[in-house]
């Protein structure tokens, strides 16, 4: 530890020990924590409620940043499943790809993923009053993107797609009843869940997208204007209660 900067070698460490060390560092006023040799340890960043920067080298395990409220996590590698599970605030920046259910039930803060993500990303993300979560995916997503989405903003930039290649995700926005999804490029109708519709972007949409894409570009050293020059698709829910009449006769 020096000047509020801590280094922890996570090699062979169990996740309980690692997270205890993290809490200890934060309680002792750490401002920047560097974790090296991370390999599969779960729940990193959970139960931390103060702004602190955590740099992760390696492959953090499932539920990275779960219930996190305030810290900023930067991963130099890939994240596994359920990154940002029920996160309340803070930021996660992943210089790689992320697994299934990224941003699972996130209710605040931001997640930026440089490359592709797995299934059910943004499942049941939600917003309330001032709390509004944002997930920005640089690559493309697998199926059930934004499933049961209840609020927040989900952006998929498709930068890993080859020229002319389209997003292949299907069941996009199945059960969606709040929030908005922006996809760079086009999707066919069959790729959408029954509960969403594609609508034209308005000025407010472009302003929001510009802000998020600029942040994304700054994190990963990309050209924001080039990314924004392509057409986007905006998806919104058809109803705020799609299943409200499911059992009503």
């Amino acid at each position: 530890m020096r000047d509020g900067r801590w280094e922890i070698d996570a090699n062979g460490m169990h996740y309980r020990a690692l997270n205890a060390r993290l809490r200890e560092a934060v309680e002792n006023g750490a401002e920047c924590i560097v974790l090296r040799n991370v390999c599969g340890q779960r729940y990193i960043g959970a139960n931390l409620h103060r702004p602190v920067e955590i740099h992760i080298y390696g492959t953090p395990g499932n539920d990275l940043a779960a219930f996190m409220d305030g810290p900023r996590i930067i991963v130099y590698g890939n994240a596994q499943d359920a990154c940002g599970n029920t996160m309340n605030g803070g930021e996660v920046v992943i210089h790689g790809r992320a697994g299934d259910v990224t941003g699972y039930s996130i209710r605040g803060g931001k997640i930026f993923v440089r490359d592709d993500v797995g299934y059910r990303v943004g499942i049941h993300i939600k917003e309330y009053q001032e709390q509004r979560p944002f997930i920005v995916i640089g690559g493309t997503a697998q199926h059930f993107l934004g499933e049961y989405m209840a609020g927040g903003v989900l952006v998929v930039l498709g930068l890993t797609l080859r020229p002319g290649e389209c997003h292949t995700a299907t069941y996009i926005g199945t059960g969606m009843h709040g929030g908005v999804i922006y996809l760079r490029g086009k999707v066919a109708d069959y790729q959408l869940g029954r509960e969403v519709a594609s609508v034209p972007l308005e000025d407010g949409d472009w302003a929001l997208l510009r802000q998020l894409v600029q942040e994304f570009a700054a994190h990963f050293n990309r050209d924001a204007e080039e990314i924004l020059a392509a057409p986007f698709t905006k998806l919104v829910p058809l109803s705020s209660r799609p299943y409200g009449r499911l059992y009503a006769y």
Partner: protein
């Protein structure tokens, strides 16, 4: 929950159990100590032409009866207790023996082929395995292939690996499992892998179609005795790919059939094939969340259910193909693989002996479909 991992060297180079133990042990949270196991291919080169039966005796007094049966129906090449550490902190390990056996030339005389002609050696072995397992002796043949061994029990992966001394074994294809039983008992026979002939299966998930699958397989002569859903996948693999002779790419379309709306978007020939598969083999659709690694001599197949309700990560480095529930265990063994990716649900990842592993394996599916149709 459960965790699984498979490593295959497609060049056929053998390696010890060290890597697979490191990998499976990394996923500690995916198991709870109520079952772990390993399968290794290429581990019995000195008996490569023998059926290697691993037999678990939950009642030691049944050994003489089983051995009398094996002596009557097989040529006895070698037998021994499966070596294990004298420890242990493992609760109640059963007696486990292995038998290296061949079918005598006269086997066809004593085996009723039930209308299946000519005599089929594999059918004869399956029949005898099922006879022992259903005899009510508390004896279970849970590994019955050639040059392959299953080592499993109740414990954490590291404990089971130490118990059987797996660092001493070597093979070109290893799979491993750590169990977190949710619906069925954690007993030695219920640990994964499940094996029949050369097939072994490790599985994460739960099979809601188990009843349907089991009844169908029973009609085909397969009897479930291990009290766990995964068993049906091993028998379905044997039935579809060995007995029915379907290529892997077709068999996975039976077990993880594309959804009907997906089929509706296929071109007419492929649609006809998919509809035919669902009509003919409907009872072998594996429903519910699953990730499996199915292996046989020279082949490792990773597959998830069609909407991927359980995870699978694949990686390639040189001649090696890695499949695992998570990416971290792969990176622990191979820190910088050339390629890491997440396969799409229902798409098999296939490693074959003598073929460089490639991600594009999934795209070969289409061409093989048409080969099968024509």
């Amino acid at each position: 929950m459960c965790g699984l991992i498979g490593i295959m060297d497609t060049s056929g180079r053998c390696f010890s159990g060290h890597d697979i133990v490191v990998g499976i042990s990394n996923m500690e949270e995916r198991g709870n100590g109520l079952g772990a196991g390993f399968a290794v291919y290429g581990c019995y080169p000195q008996y490569a032409d023998c059926y290697a039966f691993h037999v678990m005796y939950t009642r030691p007094d049944s050994r003489s009866q089983v051995e009398a049966f094996l002596r009557e129906h097989f040529t006895w090449v070698h037998a021994e207790e499966v070596p294990h550490q004298p420890v242990t902190d493992l609760p109640n390990p059963p007696l486990i023996w292995r038998y290296f056996l061949q079918l005598p030339d006269s086997a066809h005389l004593s085996f009723q082929t039930k209308g299946r002609v000519p005599f089929d050696e594999a059918e004869c072995v399956v029949d005898r395995v099922m006879r022992v397992n259903t005899a009510g002796l508390g004896a279970y043949i849970y590994s019955s292939g050639k040059d392959v061994g299953v080592f499993k029990g109740v414990g954490h992966p590291q404990q089971i690996a130490e118990y059987f001394g797996l660092e001493e074994y070597s093979g070109y294809l290893w799979t491993a499992h750590t169990r977190f039983p949710t619906n069925t008992p954690g007993w030695w026979g219920g640990a994964h892998p499940f094996g029949l002939l050369n097939w072994t299966v490790v599985h994460n998930g739960e099979i809601s179609s188990y009843g349907t699958n089991r009844r169908y397989l029973e009609m085909m002569g397969y009897h479930c005795t291990m009290q766990t859903d995964t068993e049906v996948i091993a028998y379905a693999a044997d039935f579809l790919m060995r007995r029915q002779g379907l290529p892997v790419e077709i068999a996975v379309r039976v077990m993880a059939a594309p959804l009907w709306d997906e089929i509706a978007r296929m071109d007419p020939e492929e649609q006809a094939l998919m509809r035919a598969l669902r009509q003919v083999y409907g009872p072998l659709l594996i429903n519910g969340p699953f990730t499996v690694i199915i292996a046989r001599q020279g082949e490792m197949i990773g597959l998830t259910d069609r909407i991927r309700l359980r995870p699978l990560t694949a990686a390639i480095h040189g001649d090696r193909l890695y499949l695992a529930s998570e990416e971290a265990p792969i990176r622990l063994i191979c820190p910088q693989p050339e390629r890491v990716w997440t396969p799409v649900g229902g798409e098999p990842i296939i490693g074959r002996l003598g073929e460089s592993p490639r991600e594009e394996a999934v795209w070969c599916v289409e061409s093989s479909l048409y080969t099968c149709v024509s």
